[in-house]
């Protein structure tokens, strides 16, 4: 299969017309299939180095200090075959005072026996801003194991925001682990939204250490599980500096024989720090359900709509 055909299939699986993207010279993009980089388009201020490995790639993405990328970098990675391994080693460096965003699509539309691992190390420079959105699109079989791990350092005055979404297709098994060290006057907002069914298994660990004065963080997880799916969420927020502020929020909707568990840990080690947490696990709210049913939706459709709202599919944007 040609590279172009592979790329078209990858984009088709995420509902994006690649020709719209390829026609945008002002939008940077990186396209990866299995262990090969099939396409890279850069814009001023952005540097990418990538090398193929036996079962994946290693890449460094850097945004030069002071550079302001006008549009999010579009990243598309995944595998078209139904089995295989993809390991991605990623280093992201956002220079001091730079601003950048990434919209990543990770797709395994035909997965039956796929293992996808990502180990990312990120450094958000002083006063830099970095926003990362990752959408996973899996097939109907659920035969995929996804293990994304990120270690993030947000330097003084930096802003880091990440949002993970997996609400289309079956999850299979996913083990997300994000850990951020947040320095003075910096922020880290980490969120994940995942919908599981069948025998899907979801484990999410979000951790932030508020190590500097006025450091801020919000850890937010929204999960819906039905059938026999399971979800475990471990959110840990540690504050060791004065005026550090944080909040942990976990919402899980459980249907059928599914099981959900939330373990929020709030660890405050300075009297002038303040951290709150909120966790809600349960069935769909009865009043919401009855409101939608009083508009004519049956119970299943009303439940789907409530979950759709909770998990909130985001629109893909190029600008």
């Amino acid at each position: 299969m040609s590279d172009r055909s592979l790329l078209e299939q990858l984009y088709q699986s995420i509902g994006v017309n690649p020709h719209d993207l390829w026609g945008r010279l002002d939008v940077a993009r990186i396209e990866i299939h299995a262990n090969r980089v099939l396409g890279v388009h850069l814009v001023p201020g952005l540097e990418v180095e990538a090398e193929s490995r036996a079962e994946g790639i290693a890449a460094t993405i850097a945004v030069r200090p002071g550079a302001r990328l006008m549009h999010p970098v579009q990243v598309c990675f995944g595998m078209i075959p139904d089995n295989g391994v993809q390991q991605i080693e990623l280093r992201i460096e956002i220079g001091a005072g730079a601003r950048a965003g990434v919209v990543a699509h990770c797709t395994f539309p035909n997965a039956r026996n796929i293992r996808h691992e990502m180990n990312a190390a990120l450094e958000i420079g002083p006063g830099a801003e970095y926003a990362y959105f990752e959408r996973h699109v899996h097939g109907a079989e659920g035969g995929v194991l996804v293990i994304p791990k990120s270690k993030v350092v947000v330097r003084e005055g930096g802003r880091y925001q990440t949002d993970f979404e997996l609400i289309k297709g079956r999850v299979g098994r996913i083990e997300i682990d994000v850990e951020a060290a947040v320095e003075a006057h910096a922020t880290a907002d980490i969120s994940a939204r995942v919908s599981g069914r069948g025998d899907d298994a979801i484990t999410i660990r979000e951790t932030a250490h508020l190590a500097g004065e006025y450091a801020r963080s919000v850890l937010c997880t929204s999960i819906a599980v039905r059938d026999r799916a399971t979800a475990e969420v471990f959110n840990t927020l540690t504050a060791t500096a004065p005026f550090a502020r944080g909040h942990v929020d976990c919402k899980e909707i459980v249907q059928g024989e599914a099981v959900a568990r939330a373990v929020p840990i709030v660890d405050v080690r300075h009297p002038k720090a303040h951290v709150t947490h909120e966790a809600a696990i349960g069935s769909v709210d009865a009043k919401q359900l009855e409101t939608l049913m009083s508009r004519g939706l049956n119970e299943d459709d009303a439940t789907d709509l409530i979950i759709e709202g909770l998990l909130g599919e985001k629109r893909q944007r190029l600008d």
């Binding site: 929204s222 919402k251 709210d285 009865a286 009043k287 919401q288 009855e290 409101t291 939608l292 049913m293 009083s294 508009r295 004519g296 939706l297 049956n298 119970e299 009303a302 709509l305 409530i306 759709e308 709202g309 909770l310 998990l311 909130g312």
Partner: protein, 250 residues
């Protein structure tokens, strides 16, 4: 006048207490009705029972809609037959946009129709269509969006529980505007209220007390009666003698 909904000798007991105690009312098609009475009289319970909400389905008596018993119908079946309810305190939906909420029950799900009904309730579609119907909206804004969703549904029978609760004067005017719209569309409205301002927008009024209709008639008659005699019910359940006095007075 055609009767669209009949309640016959409805008895409902909740938590060991008889909330509705032989309630009998006929509602006329295309008319605006008000159920007025003190707190705890059974007004909201009546609306919930008509809508078929959980906890309000195990009652005695007859509930007839357009000539057919609907006692065994689910909420959504009743809604598809044209019955709907505007809650006293509308639900919050985290992440669900006003657009999706309105489209959920709309007959016409087009963007143009969503904009039209938002404008009908005085909300700018450009500002509100994409906003989540959640805690970031005020109570009045949520009430208006709920009303917009009901307008889009084009119902035959609208139950409005305390339409003036928790809203400002401007929002109340929108609700009164919607009443006119329902009237023009030939829909029937049943408002639950203990507000005389709302009562005066109705064409027929029923005074409910202790789960019964104790008086009915024109809005003028019932509002005068409510103002003059119903103070006995404001803070406590009236005695049998007081109830009898109310009946004699009618």
């Amino acid at each position: 006048m055609n009767t669209i909904l009949q309640l016959r000798d409805i008895v409902l007991t909740l938590g060991g207490k008889r909330i509705l105690d032989g309630l009998t009312i006929d509602f006329w098609e295309g008319h605006i009705h008000a159920l007025i009475g003190p707190n705890g009289a059974g007004k909201s319970t009546t609306a919930n029972l008509i809508m078929g909400l959980a906890g309000y389905r195990n009652f005695q008596g007859e509930l007839i809609y357009q000539g057919e018993s609907i006692a065994d119908w689910s909420i959504d079946r009743r809604a598809r037959a044209g019955i709907t309810l505007a809650w006293q305190e509308p639900a919050r939906f985290e992440g669900l946009s006003a657009r999706r909420f309105i489209q959920a029950g709309a007959k016409d799900r087009s963007e143009a129709r969503v904009c039209e009904v938002l404008e009908e309730v005085g909300l700018d579609p450009g500002r509100y269509a994409d906003r989540a119907v959640d805690r970031t909206l005020s109570g009045g804004e949520r009430k208006r969006i709920e009303l917009a969703s009901i307008l889009a549904m084009e119902p035959r029978l609208v139950l409005m529980d305390e339409p003036d609760s928790g809203i400002d004067v401007e929002a109340l005017e929108c609700i009164f505007g919607a009443l006119k719209f329902f009237k023009q569309q030939g829909a029937t409205v049943i408002m639950i209220t203990h507000s005389l301002a709302v009562l005066r927008r109705a064409e027929h009024a029923f005074l409910v007390c202790c789960g019964k209709v104790v008086n009915k008639g024109s809005v003028e008659k019932i509002s005068r009666y409510f103002e003059q005699k119903c103070h006995v019910c404001d803070d406590r359940t009236p005695t049998l003698a007081e109830l009898e006095d109310i009946r004699v007075g009618s």
